[in-house]
């Protein structure tokens, strides 16, 4: 990784509404041209953090730097940021062109330059035919683009997205998501992107920050977040996970091979990092398990009853209950849609040892 200047740095940011602690000691930084996602359930503080970066909410303590400049006491209108709102927040009385030109006018740019910049941005987002219309006359997707164009037009140091796609239907959402990412790559702007949709976060980010209760739970590249979640919350929130408590029976740190007992029997785990305790949580992804009809592995082979089968087209979800031991626990695995199994049938499943990860969370 090359050394990049930090476009945005947040240090020990804390913010309180009355008695509710919305942000607690949040620290992270974003390199120039990176797209960072703040991911978390509602109420986790991600939007608050975004608004603090934009300057709409003053921090109680901590600091925010944009392009190396401390933002303490700088009002939103003086910050080099531009925000795309969930509601789009288009000015209903202004035409699309006037909406896009709004920020440029505020920056006292020559009107001839404004016109050319508006035309250029509109071209990029495909709004050229709509320039003279009022926002009310546009479709949701078009409105979303206007909001995007309006923010992009001012070439902000940091672009802020507050769940910009949540009001779009599913198909359009995928489409715009790809578009935003493409535009971001093409223009190289730095962006902070708030979402509660983990797929969106994984699909478009350089860096994902998972938040809960005003704190950062984990941050890292999307693959790392998915592959190596640090705790049950992240494992469960990002993707689907089978989380189970395990007791470490034997360990060989050199080869990274660990023997554990889990709810459905003894299992082998391959891990580069040692577990943080002897009784801790581990997780595995449903798609990592294999039915024995597909493969003939003997290690980590377990027998389950299929208690439910959900056909999803290309895929098929199976809910399994272990043959032996804890009847309460259910595990999910995902196989191809054509897998010929029925509910009530007994199957053997292999979970590859390197598919099971230790979480950094001991069992209380």
């Amino acid at each position: 990784m090359t050394l990049m200047a930090n476009a945005l740095a947040v240090e020990r940011a804390s913010l309180r509404y009355g008695t509710f602690q919305a942000l607690i000691d949040v620290t992270f930084s974003v390199g120039e041209g990176q797209l960072v996602t703040l991911l978390g359930p509602s109420g986790c503080g991600k939007t608050t953090l975004l608004k603090a970066i934009a300057g709409f909410m003053p921090l109680d303590s901590g600091r925010i730097e944009i392009s190396g400049r401390d933002m303490q006491g700088v009002p939103p209108e003086k910050r080099d940021t531009a925000m795309c709102f969930q509601s789009y927040a288009l000015f209903p009385h202004l035409s699309v062109a006037e909406n896009i030109a709004f920020g440029l006018r505020q920056r006292r740019i020559k009107s001839s330059d404004i016109a050319s910049r508006v035309a250029a941005v509109a071209q990029q987002v495909g709004l050229s035919p709509q320039l003279e219309k009022l926002p009310g006359q546009l479709s949701g997707g078009q409105q979303q683009r206007v909001a995007l164009a309006r923010a992009m037009a001012v070439h902000p140091g940091v672009m802020l997205f507050d769940e910009p796609l949540s009001n779009l239907d599913l198909k359009l959402r995928d489409h715009v998501r790809i578009e935003i990412r493409a535009l971001q790559r093409e223009h190289g702007f730095t962006a902070v992107y708030v979402t509660h949709d983990q797929q969106e976060a994984l699909a478009m980010s350089d860096l994902v920050i998972v938040m809960r209760n005003g704190m950062i739970e984990q941050m890292g590249p999307p693959e790392q977040i998915y592959r190596h979640p640090v705790n049950r919350f992240v494992a469960d929130f990002v993707g689907t996970a089978n989380i189970m408590p395990v007791d470490v029976l034997a360990s060989d740190q050199k080869s990274g091979r660990y023997e554990v007992t889990c709810p459905f029997g003894k299992a082998i785990i391959h891990s580069a990092t040692p577990p943080v305790g002897s009784r801790i949580y581990a997780c595995w992804r449903p798609e990592d398990a294999m039915l024995t009809s597909e493969i003939t592995e003997e290690e980590n082979r377990f027998t389950f009853d299929i208690s439910a089968r959900t056909f999803l087209g290309s895929l098929c979800n199976l809910a399994l209950s272990p043959r032996n031991g804890a009847a309460e626990a259910f595990f999910r695995i995902q196989t191809h849609g054509f897998t010929p199994v029925r509910e009530g049938q007994t199957v053997d499943v292999v979970i590859p040892p390197d598919a099971i990860r230790f979480l950094e969370e001991v069992v209380a």
Partner: protein, 287 residues
């Protein structure tokens, strides 16, 4: 089906709407036809512009006309100017804001005549204000403020009474502006003045105009404030109309009708002009 529905709706509308249309067209029709010589109580009914000539040649009429136009314009503008910042201030609730909006609305509950009385009582020669000013040493002797020549008292009363209406009309539209929109403008570099000029004013233009029109019409047609607290040297149009009717015997009806038609004209066109100019001003500011 739709026709049937429309017919049914119109039948249902009849009891409420018919009296309004009948009464108003009769009253306005009466005023217009009396002004051109019909329904004459003193002589033959025939078309004549005598009353128009009579009234329009009177200095007193034009003074009354200009006076009403001026107080109406001033009252409308001042009420809105005062109500607007308060509406912005109370856009989002805060501890104590309920109390303040209740206090602002209080004058609505006070009858205009009572308000005029309280005001005259307050500023009279022996009134609280003068006693206070003299005792605090601001003036040596009481000031004469009652029935002042410039109708400052009337404008104060109009603003006092009508500002709450302007407030109620405006605050609704100000509250309807989403925080996101203002934040978006802020994020794009708009300071408070730019937000006011380019976002808030244009978005509240309609209610601004509604408030101006309403207050203009009420103030242009004012009788009570003028009669109790207004200057004695000039009449408001409504007062002039009542006097013209009362002082001129049977002819009075026809001449009063001319004043009435002119007053309706002033209400209509005056308020439209005020609203139009506001629109122009807001448009210009938006740039």
């Amino acid at each position: 089906m739709t026709n049937n529905q429309t017919l049914k709706a119109y039948l249902l509308l009849l009891p409420g709407l018919l009296p309004i249309i009948a009464f108003m067209s009769l009253v306005v029709g009466m005023a217009v036809s009396q002004s051109i010589g019909f329904f004459n109580f003193s002589g033959a009914d025939q078309f004549s512009i005598q009353s128009w000539r009579e009234i329009l040649s009177q200095d007193q009429f034009w003074r009354a006309f200009l006076y009403s136009a001026r107080t109406a314009t001033l009252s409308a503008i001042l009420s809105v100017l005062l109500a607007y910042p308060i509406a912005l201030w109370l856009r989002r609730p805060f501890p104590g804001s309920d109390l303040i909006s209740a206090m602002i609305k209080a004058p609505i509950l006070v009858h205009g005549l009572v308000a005029a009385f309280l005001f005259v009582n307050f500023i009279s020669f022996q009134g609280f204000l003068n006693v206070a000013l003299v005792n605090l040493g601001f003036t040596a002797s009481p000031m004469r403020m009652q029935n002042d020549t410039y109708a400052i008292g009337v404008v104060i009363l109009q603003v006092w009474k009508n500002m709450p209406f302007a407030f109620l009309i405006i605050v609704g539209s100000v509250r309807a502006i989403g925080d996101d929109i203002l934040d978006a403008a802020r994020g794009l570099g708009a300071g408070w003045l730019a937000r006011l000029r380019r976002i808030i004013l244009p978005l509240t233009l309609r209610s601004l105009q509604a408030a101006l029109v309403l207050i203009f019409i009420v103030a242009a047609g004012d009788y009570s404030f003028q009669a109790v607290a207004g200057p004695t040297s000039v009449n408001s149009l409504a007062q002039f109309m009542v006097r013209t009717q009362a002082d001129n015997g049977a002819n009075g009806w026809n001449e009063a009708a001319v004043v009435a038609v002119m007053l309706m004209g002033l209400s209509l066109f005056g308020s439209l002009i005020v609203a139009g100019l506001t629109q122009l001003a807001v448009r210009r500011m938006r740039r």
